[in-house]
Symmetry: C2
Subunit: 418 residues, 2 copies
């Protein structure tokens, strides 16, 4: 019953036209291509997505969280094959990111129809609400609702204008009072596949037009606080000093050295620095550094944590008070090996030797992994690896090639799961 | 004609009473013992100092910069022997610092009278204006006027309340329109000796009650700016990064390593850090670090400068843009070997094997070195080396012992210079 048609009539011009239209829904008062979740531009863009779904023959619904769904019936009822992503952007963002995944999903629905393909399973295209950090301080709002990880208390969060998240969801056509109705389970979703731009340089360097994601890295964040001894920058001898900034520098370089022991398996960043009191002539008594590392392999993450603990103990041994408070921990999400194999096979059907690679950023797929274990991701290349920037760029031809692989994968999934 | 009397009747109780009284002129709204220059408390304290000078038989004048002078005539006119320091404090300061030097100088005038000593040279006791960084952003205001390094333009500097420095000087009884009249030269000053608390731990550790200063360290300050490449903390591979914070950490540790190659000869501080944009999930693209080093030996200072240049070149070689802008350079001030010898001999007369040591902080003596080459400093111990802090402490008995050495040194200077 598996259908293979490497000749899917994916139309790059149609994708480009959609992409150009969607790129017009931006906040003119913000830099780059800004369409933040719950903004007037976001609402208008989502209405446009819904219209394009209808034009593609999909039955459109907006769930209680405001997610836009477009349904294509199967030959029988049951769990759906779901594909999609999100169309909101960060402030000062670009025109691809999750947008590529929504437009590719839409194109898949169209080409399946145009090719006369009847799937046994229903197919749903989704545009999730607020994948990027929203004005309410929460990301993946829509997919959290679907996975059951959006709590009723979250609806009371307020943005800077005093609006609640519940009110903002209602403005999208959602129904916050019936939030639980948005939740889906394995009986609703047979598999979820998200196409997204890579946001990194691996595919471009590999000369690949599509890649299959092995998993989404875990993210650990800590606030490190080091208390040394404040003193006069002249009269306090070097041998007596407990310079908190020097200690922070050592600790950060220790972490970087540990990261270098796991090449390609971890990234580590110390992005937030506060050194007090902050004068030329005062030996710093306090330093606070916000650190983050990301790894797919939990043993690598554990090694980073051990390196942090060692660095803290070393500083304690030198007379500092040094401690790290965990700010957040997101576990890595390995993606289904079975779905990976189907995505690889689909790409191979179309002549692509798609590399496997990790996703170093979070995605709606993280939430969807709570709904079904059958989750997968396809990446298309990002020029220069740039992301969350007005310079973010992917070739429409690559997005179209990703859509072809996605169509082929949907057919293969239908064959293997139905 | 040299007079030696190791039995100078220095009265610690009299010094203590003066010290206790002066310590009452503090701003109750500020922490510690705060008497900032040009504050109402500073004005009241300076009036009290003038009264105590008069009670000690000195002829009091206030010069055009507001410095309080108390003159004791010699058996003939001519250049004066000058001793004194300052009574203003930093915000949240202590009760000793320059105060010890003013009170010791006052006590010297009294004990010389009580011992019936006639000096050939006139003796002047001085309480300089605003040695500490003033609300006008300038330090050593009074001694700068005396050395000719207070420019007329400085008088237009304004404090947060909008008052000009000229107005503030007038409130002290100065005459800013006649600023140049405060300037003194070698025909006015035969020698200048300042007693001050050490502000460091050397004398306490050496078990010494008095020390002779060899020189005042030079101070170099730089703003280092490092431009790397901002990026996504997940998707930007470690091997591609130009993390400006990591570069700053390396540069600072390079400077600290160079300082460690000159033990006891340099102190180095990186007290000001700015890392941008300052998020957990963004690789820092910019780092700014304010660094300072202090050394008495110019070759050591040159070695630090070379280390900075090397570190910057290393970063440039790694693809960063890195540069250092000199914020300020104060040359080291070696103190007169002849005056050092007299101070050492005076201390020895009184049974003290006074160590020689550098001053790691600036003093009014730096300005007075422009007036006469015959400048010297005596240090008394600071408990725990603490300075510019409410916990700053020196024993009154040590201040009294310093005053005895100062009296003896004045007599020796009078003998050698008159």
């Amino acid at each position: 019953m598996e259908k293979r048609d490497p000749a899917w009539r994916v139309d790059p011009d149609r994708i480009r036209t959609d992409w150009e239209t969607l790129a017009t829904f931006v906040d003119p008062s913000r830099p780059g291509h800004t369409r933040r979740a719950f903004s007037p531009q976001d609402r208008a863009a989502r209405r446009w997505v819904a219209r394009r779904m209808e034009e593609a023959g999909l039955a459109v619904t907006v769930d209680a969280a405001g997610n836009v769904w477009g349904l294509r019936p199967g030959t029988r009822d049951g769990p759906k094959l779901v594909t999609g992503s999100h169309t909101d952007t960060v402030d000062g963002g670009g025109r691809f990111d999750g947008i590529a995944g929504v437009l590719a999903a839409l194109e898949v629905a169209r080409v399946l129809d145009e090719a006369g393909v009847r799937l046994r399973l229903p197919l749903a295209v989704v545009d999730f609400v607020a994948e990027e950090p929203s004005p309410f301080g929460l990301s993946c709002v829509g997919s959290r609702a679907v996975s059951g990880h959006l709590a009723v208390e979250h609806l009371s969060l307020r943005d800077d204008a005093g609006r609640t998240l519940g009110e903002a969801i209602a403005q999208l056509g959602g129904d916050p009072a019936r939030l639980a109705s948005a939740r889906l389970g394995p009986d609703d979703v047979a598999a979820f596949v998200e196409l997204h731009v890579e946001q990194g340089p691996y595919l471009e360097r590999a000369g690949a037009r599509v890649g299959v994601v092995t998993g989404i890295v875990g993210i650990d964040r800590y606030d490190v606080e080091i208390l040394g001894e404040r003193g006069h920058s002249g009269t306090l001898p070097m041998s007596d000093r407990h310079d908190a900034a020097v200690a922070a520098a050592r600790l950060v370089l220790d972490l970087m050295a540990e990261a270098a022991r796991h090449p390609g398996a971890v990234v580590c960043t110390a992005g937030r620095w506060q050194v007090a009191p902050g004068a030329y002539n005062v030996v710093p008594g306090e330093a606070r550094v916000g650190v983050e590392w990301r790894a797919l392999d939990p043993t690598v993450s554990d090694a980073m944590e051990e390196a942090l603990a060692l660095a803290l103990r070393a500083l304690e041994g030198q007379g500092y008070r040094a401690e790290a408070r965990r700010v957040s921990r997101e576990a890595p999400v390995p993606l289904s090996p079975a779905v990976q194999d189907i995505l690889l096979a689909a790409a191979r059907d179309l002549g692509h030797d798609a590399p496997r690679l990790a996703s170093w950023a979070g995605h709606d797929t993280v939430q969807m992994a709570h709904v079904t274990e059958r989750v997968g991701m396809l990446f298309v290349p990002s020029r220069g690896g740039l992301s969350h920037s007005p310079e973010e760029w992917s070739e429409i031809a690559d997005v179209a090639e990703g859509a072809r692989c996605l169509a082929q994968a949907i057919v293969r999934l239908d064959g293997s799961l139905a």
